[in-house]
Amino acid sequence: MSGRALLLLSAGPFTVLRDFDMSPEERARALDECRALSVVEQLARDVRAGERAQILRLLALLPRSPVLSDLWRTSYGALVDPVRRAVRERQVLFLPGWHWARAEAATAVSQAKPAADDAAAPPASARRAPPPKQYDLLFEYVTDTGHPVTDEGGFELWGPGGFIEKGKLSNGRVHRKGVVSGQYELRVRALTSARWSTLSTSPFEPVRLTVRTKNLPDGTPLVIAIRPAHAAPDAASIRLQVKVQADCAAATWSYEQAVGGRLREDFEFEVTLDKKRATSQVLRVVPHPPTTPRGAQERLRALGYDPGPAADEPTASLRAALQRYQEDHPPLVPSGELDPFTVDVLDSQIA
């Protein structure tokens, strides 16, 4: 086994190697058994065809691969169990990230290794070391429509021995000729998600906005624009500035309903970095129940009455606003109290 490393799979979020012979540093980067299995299990659970197909390709290259023909009818256990066994028996090694495989290089090393072990061979110093073999390095990025992509945001190509090269992805390809053997990684800057902490909230209740990134330096500024979800994208929006820290940026926001402001609204936010953007899911703002002080405040505000700051208990401002509303809507009794009739009329007035 030693001296050889065969690429089994290098696509998606990890690389799987078999017959590996790696340095301690490289081995340290590998996923432990538990995390490796969780990756596989996650893929197997995912009902999307692409993810399952990866597992199937992986299984096909295992030493004791089961014969699986129908992707959709293959059970979860049938997909995962062979991989689990292979991981436990240390037949495969999972590396994170997108890597250029070194199958050829590994093969070359493995060919050289038996000569080094040969006792009859002349001393190493007496032999001329062959010149390092050079290879072509080719990354291709395409959409699933089959079209190449470009990324003006730039990338960093990391190679062996601290090799770093900056460039821009154009026409979907990064092609380098004459590179030495080793592990290469193309680090693309990306926004990977934009999420609300909840999908439903109420006025004045804080919500956390989280943006996940990849390969963005700490301190990179991002612009977040919050806007009604069903309005035009160029509609007026609330803008926030956040900075990336450890591939994450976050902010807290709440819908501060103004007097006359809407009671219900759908919001989404979009984070932008130059031409890159990520859009969140829809956050729905719904009012509190009309029988609660907060709910009454929210409805009064929507109808143009100022009930003061949001509060869970009836306040003097709420009572005053209620009384004004009741005076304006006979035959409600202007008591300033949130009686059932007032609740009913308040709620029915919201259109």
Partner: protein, 749 residues
């Protein structure tokens, strides 16, 4: 080329996913909590977990169930007769999974996207309308739809066959040229274009509760269906028929609602806007809601597409006041509606019976043409009803019937009779001058007399009073009394009428006593002031003057009707007015007859008394009265069949030229089966006075009576169609098989 083990370069395939949806750039969606998702299932068939995938890209799947597909309720506003239509936009994001756009696929830029917009209202697919756009550099395609285009979608003759409130927009799309397979998908949201409508309902007489504050500080409501209602009383009512609430209702008297000689209420109502009855007389809330739920069956039942408001009014008084108040209310309402984002600023008026009379007159007030989009008249006595004459004479229907023949179930019939002639409403509901048939017959107005409804009415009442059939009314003076004094008079009005009924009966024998006691009969004559004192009615007696058919009120009612008919004749409401009426199988009063049965001369009072069978000693006691009996009269109906009708008989004693005379009078009403709706004759029901769209409710012989029609499903179904503009005259709703809501027969016109 050195490469991987498989000889392939490293290849990263970036998965794309689309999100397509509607946008409403100008108008925000409804905030109504009842604006819930509805509509049919997805446009595209569900073939698997990724059903909308062509060779590449997965589009965000629609929800598994249609009910979960969000619907944006977007209002279409109409103000000043102009539609304000929102512009819309369809938007497609074709981006990396997770709504990300980190890279650009230049080949995607400019790719053609075709949209097919469907109207899926009513679980149907109408359309499509095709739209086209192309992907931009960030993978989005947004196609604006100008308001003019949306407006064309609301044309029922166009491809989408939509109209406001009946259009649920969805779309599917295709990107044909990006791969060798078609990429298709559909919107994850839908748009519902709606407009709310305010419908103002005017009930008939007794459909509103008149609230008055009595001098003791209490507020009383008439009719008293809610005041004092308790669970115990309702229970007693259910356990002991005739007790509890029913008993209370049976004894309601209207004295405190009395008006003065000028028709002005002695006590003004507590509020200009009176509380209306709900459920007891009418169920229009439930009926309207049910019709709305039937017509818009797909829409969530609690989404308020129709807002029903009641216009209650003081039904005692001059209907002109109510008509003007209605016009003012509608003007104010329009101003309020213009502040709302989603409501038509023109209202629909619906009036039942007297409510319809008020409506017709109100339509002539300035500005109403711009404020009212529909006027629905349900069982309206446009030319009055002869039955109202029965109210004046006996408070019963038919006039002179027994205790079970109260004109209004919950009002004491004598009380109704006693208050009638001072209430303007009675003059408004009596047949109007436009009536083309004779409505009353008396010796002074025999069948050969020329048609004159005004003469018929006046002569009938005056004759009945002079014959002693009807107590001569004593009106409260119209001037010279403070509000406090008027309120006190109202509070003891029932006592006065009780006394005056008794006194009137005694006075019927007065001429005979005058003949026998030319210098007076002190014991008998002192009964009147003695009773007034004993009953504490001095103030009542001082404040009242004898009256009869009130010519001033009759003239005002006549003017009201003439003005109303002018409104109808103008033709201005030809396209907006709809008349509903029914022809019921039960008899409808067409005319009232007060006939002289016999006239007998006697030499003196003793001879008359002998003939009447009254002992002389009883006469000498001073308290005999001429006979009053309940009889029946045989009449032939239109088919020649004979029927008995109540015919109260009254004897009148007169002294003429030193001799005594007895005249026997008889009252009866001529009615006709299927001659109207049981209350109002057909002529009056159809007598709007101008071009109008009318339809009959049910068929001749059906059971839908005057009181049933406002609670009749057919009416409300038709109203929904008329509001939506889908009603056609050929679409007869006459196939109704439902029974009328007999349980609600507690009102009157």
């Amino acid at each position: 080329m050195p490469s991987t083990e498989t000889g392939q370069p490293y290849r990263k395939v970036i998965e794309y996913k689309g999100v397509a949806r509607w946008l409403s750039p100008d108008v925000p969606f409804s905030q109504d909590s009842e604006a819930r998702p509805f509509g049919p299932g997805s446009l595209l068939p569900q073939a698997g977990p990724m059903p909308r995938v062509g060779s590449a890209g997965g589009f965000e799947a629609g929800p598994e169930t249609a009910a979960a597909k969000p619907v944006l309720y977007i209002p279409v506003k109409r103000q000043n007769g102009q539609e304000t239509i929102p512009s819309l936009r369809v938007r497609l994001e074709f981006r990396e999974v997770g709504r990300l756009s980190n890279i650009q696929a230049l080949a995607h830029v400019g790719a053609k996207v075709s949209f097919s917009v469907w109207n899926v209202w009513g679980n149907q697919r109408r359309g499509p309308v095709k739209l086209e756009g192309s992907l931009d550099e960030v993978g989005t395609c947004s196609v604006p739809i100008p308001a003019a285009t949306v407006k064309s979608w609301l044309d029922p003759r166009a491809e989408l066959r939509g109209r406001v409130n009946e259009i649920l927009l969805d779309f599917e799309f295709a990107i044909p040229d990006l791969t060798d397979q078609l990429i298709v998908g559909e919107s994850i949201t839908r748009i519902y274009l709606y407009r709310r409508k305010v419908l103002v309902f005017l009930p008939g007489v007794f459909g509103s509760q008149v609230n008055v504050r009595t001098p003791d500080g209490h507020t009383r409501g008439f009719p008293d269906l809610y005041t004092g209602f308790t669970l115990e009383r309702a229970l007693a009512d259910s356990l002991l028929p005739g007790a509890g609430l029913a008993q209370q209702l049976a004894t309601q008297k209207l004295g405190s609602l009395e008006c003065d000689a000028a028709g002005r209420p002695l006590i003004q109502p507590v509020k200009p806007a009176l509380f209306s009855l709900r459920g007891q007389v009418y169920d229009v809330y439930d009926d309207c809601r049910a019709a709305r739920a039937r017509y818009f069956a797909d829409l969530p039942a609690d989404f308020r597409l129709i807002e029903l408001q009641l216009f209650a009014y003081d039904w005692r008084t001059d209907l002109l006041e109510a008509a003007q108040a209605l016009a003012t209310r509608v003007a104010k309402l329009q101003a309020e509606l213009r502040e709302k984002p989603d409501t038509d600023d023109e209202v629909a008026l619906t009036g039942h019976s007297t409510g319809g009379l008020i409506m017709r007159r109100a339509l002539g007030e300035p500005g109403m043409q711009q404020r009212v989009s529909h006027a629905f008249f349900i069982s309206v006595p446009f030319r009055g009803a002869p039955k109202a004459l029965g109210v004046i004479l006996t408070g019963k229907d038919p006039p002179g019937g027994g205790p079970g023949n109260r004109m209004v179930d919950f009002v004491d019939s004598d009380s109704l009779r006693d208050a009638a002639l001072c209430m303007p409403i009675v003059y408004h509901l009596a047949p109007s001058a436009a009536y083309t048939e004779r409505v009353a017959f008396t010796p002074g107005r025999p069948p050969a007399a020329p048609i004159s409804v005004e003469e018929d009415k006046r002569d009938l009442i005056d004759t009945a009073i002079s014959a002693g059939f009807l107590p001569a009314p004593c009106f409260v003076k119209a001037s010279g009394l403070s509000d406090g004094e008027r309120a006190l008079l109202a509070s003891s009005s029932n006592d006065w009428h009780s006394f005056w009924s008794e006194a009137s009966e005694r006075l019927r024998a007065q001429e005979l006593y005058d003949a026998s006691y030319p210098h007076g009969y002190p014991e008998r004559d002192s009964w009147f002031p003695g009773e007034i004192r004993a009953r504490g009615l001095e103030a009542q007696a001082a404040a009242r003057v004898r009256g009869g058919w009130n010519l001033e009120l009759a003239a005002r009612a006549r003017q009201f009707h003439e003005q109303s008919e002018q409104v109808a004749r103008s033709g201005a409401w030809k396209d907006k007015a709809y008349v509903f009426y029914s022809i019921a199988k039960q008899p409808t009063t067409l005319s009232v007859h007060f006939e002289r049965v016999s006239e007998t001369d006697f030499a003196d009072s003793l001879a008359l008394l002998k003939d009447e069978g009254i002992p002389v000693l009883q006469f000498l006691d001073g308290d005999v009265v001429p006979a009053r009996t309940e009889e029946e009269r045989e009449i032939a109906d239109e088919r020649g069949e004979h029927h008995s009708v109540p015919a109260p008989v009254v004897h009148q004693w007169l002294r003429v030229n030193g001799r005594c005379k007895r005249i026997v009078w008889r009252l009866w009403a001529e009615s006709k089966t299927s001659g109207g709706d049981g209350t109002v004759p057909e002529e009056s029901l159809r007598g709007f006075g101008g071009d109008v769209q009318d339809q009959q409710i049910g068929k001749i012989g059906d059971k839908f009576t005057h009181l049933d029609t406002p609670n009749e499903a057919t009416v409300w179904n038709s109203i929904m169609q008329m509001l939506q503009g889908t009603w056609t005259k050929t679409k007869s709703p006459g196939s109704v098989s439902a029974e009328p809501n007999a349980a609600k027969r507690t009102g009157m016109p």
